[in-house]
Amino acid sequence: MERRGALRRLIAYAALLAASALPYGVSTMLAPGRAAAKRNYLRPPGALKDDAAFVSACIGCGLCGEVCPPRCIRFHTRDGGLKVNTPYIDPEQAGCILCDKCMEACPTEALTVIPRDEIDMGIAEIDQSACYPWVDKGICGACVSICPLGGKAISFKMWNQYRPIIKDGCVGCGLCVEVCPHPSVPIWVVERSPKISPRV
């Protein structure tokens, strides 16, 4: 008799638990599907180069996001897997302004204070088959005028005043991505690798 009561209670509690998860499940099912094939996100400036080392060093306190003036630092949540609670920058939402505040705020070695020239979040890359001036669909120059590093990182191609080209000084802050007016965003920050050398 006692055991039957316990069993019934157990079932009732399980039902209550399942019912409490119902709104979440329904909202997840009704939500529109995730955007296909995300482009790579950036780590905040000063992040450890090795991403595995970065993930193990980051304690997920959120201080870097909490001091970020443009609020460009977001955090992996349910989508992150083991990267959960670690920060990222989606340059399409907002680019980094290289203010150094996150590096100073981070209590761990995940973000260490380094000079601006040594920051390496990636390097910008331009899709020359889409960028308006590159396909002769008008003049733009938004990316060049927003760049906080001036001529070291991006400039116009010689002989054509509005075709932007990336230079080796680019640190990958992503402000050019944020301002790019083209709907397909033909400028993006990719990982710096020997393959992707600056096209001059």
Binding site: A52, C61, G62, G65, C68, P107, E109
Partner: protein
């Protein structure tokens, strides 16, 4: 004469100890309010930095106005001066002084298998305070405690309304297993996983996500799960049996200096202290142990002022039934003179 001296020795404890529980609620409320306020201040800072007042939606302008009114008297430049206090209980900055949770230091050490001294130093002050005051973080600061204790009150209301709520008891050593498993998993995966199952870290973060970024993460679901566990299975069950941070603080506070003791001469065995103890300890039989978080709820509820702070590194050994209780007085009546003689000698 001798009796008078005895009474002098067992004079009432310092009157403030009875009111510390209220102070504790003030402390918990302030911490929680800060966790809500800081993200709003950050949002305000970002508006200021962008010089964007005219571009803001009406609701955002309201945030801007309120935060400006709150901070105007104290600061000059919001974009810079409001950086003085940042963070949450997992890791925070106060005017350049960085403080971190000891569990953060331990978890990060396990995940990275490295020592990064600047970070470990930020956990030194909390560790030192825990060695002296024991598990005080759990009772006085933890933002989850604020909600868990309200949840406990809800349990009382539900029980009063006749609904069945759980009050199951498990082995309190379970949480040391959770701590060990969390650290081992952190080491195995190379990610600070203890942060994902530690309610204060979750709350600080999730409040920031909700206000500063919008939306919430998996932590909120986990925290709601622990609330249900407390409600339906075991009273204050997560803190008692599962919390890895609580386990760490218990270990640190095992030989804490400041602890609560029972004054056996004025105790009347009413057991209100045991009933009110959120951590299922046994103040009535001098059983505080390493898990006591010095929350002072038992001091506040004691009708005869028989609980007080003391400075010792171990609990008093069991002192037997309280001298004002029926059991002791019954024995005294039966034993007659011998007990009275002992009392004189004491």
């Amino acid at each position: 004469m001798t009796g008078g001296e005895g009474e002098m020795r067992h004079a009432k404890p310092f009157f403030l100890w009875r009111h510390l529980n209220k102070l504790r609620w003030v402390s918990l409320s302030v911490v929680f309010a800060m966790l809500v306020l800081l993200p709003y201040l950050h949002v305000y800072q970002t508006y200021v930095a962008a010089h964007a007042y005219d571009l803001l939606a009406p609701s955002e302008q309201r945030v801007y106005d309120i935060m400006e009114a709150l901070t105007q008297p104290f600061i000059g430049d919001p974009a810079e001066d409001l950086d003085a206090v940042k963070g949450n209980t997992w890791s925070a900055t106060f005017w350049g002084l960085k403080l971190s949770d000891p569990l953060a230091a331990l978890g990060q050490m396990a995940a990275g298998m490295t020592f990064y001294w600047p970070f470990l130093f930020t956990a030194l002050i909390p560790i030192g305070l825990s060695v002296v005051f024991g598990r005080f973080f759990c009772g006085w600061i933890c933002p989850a405690t604020f909600i868990y204790e309200l949840n406990s009150n809800l349990v009382s209301w539900l029980r009063w309304a006749g609904l069945k709520v759980g009050n199951r008891r498990f082995d309190k050593r379970l949480k040391y297993g959770v701590l060990a498993a969390g650290l081992l998993l952190s080491a195995a995966t190379g990610s600070v996983l203890v942060a994902a199952i530690y309610p204060p870290a979750i709350i600080g973060r999730e409040i920031y996500y909700m206000i500063g970024i919008g939306g919430f993460g998996a932590g909120t679901m986990f925290f709601l799960g622990t609330l249900l566990f407390d409600l339906l299975v075991a009273r204050r069950g997560f803190c008692r049996y599962l919390c890895p941070g609580g386990a760490l603080y218990s270990l640190l506070g095992r030989y804490r200096l400041l602890r609560i003791r029972r004054i056996v001469e004025t105790c009347n065995d009413c057991a209100k202290c045991n009933a009110v103890c959120e951590f299922d300890l046994d103040p009535l039989r001098d059983g505080f142990g390493q898990e006591c978080n010095n929350c002072t709820a038992c001091i506040a509820v004691c009708p005869t002022d028989a609980l007080a702070f003391t400075i010792r590194i171990t609990d008093y050994p069991a002192q037997g039934p309280g001298h004002l209780g029926r059991q002791y007085r019954g024995k005294a009546a039966a034993g007659g003179k011998t007990v009275a003689g002992q009392e004189d000698a004491a």
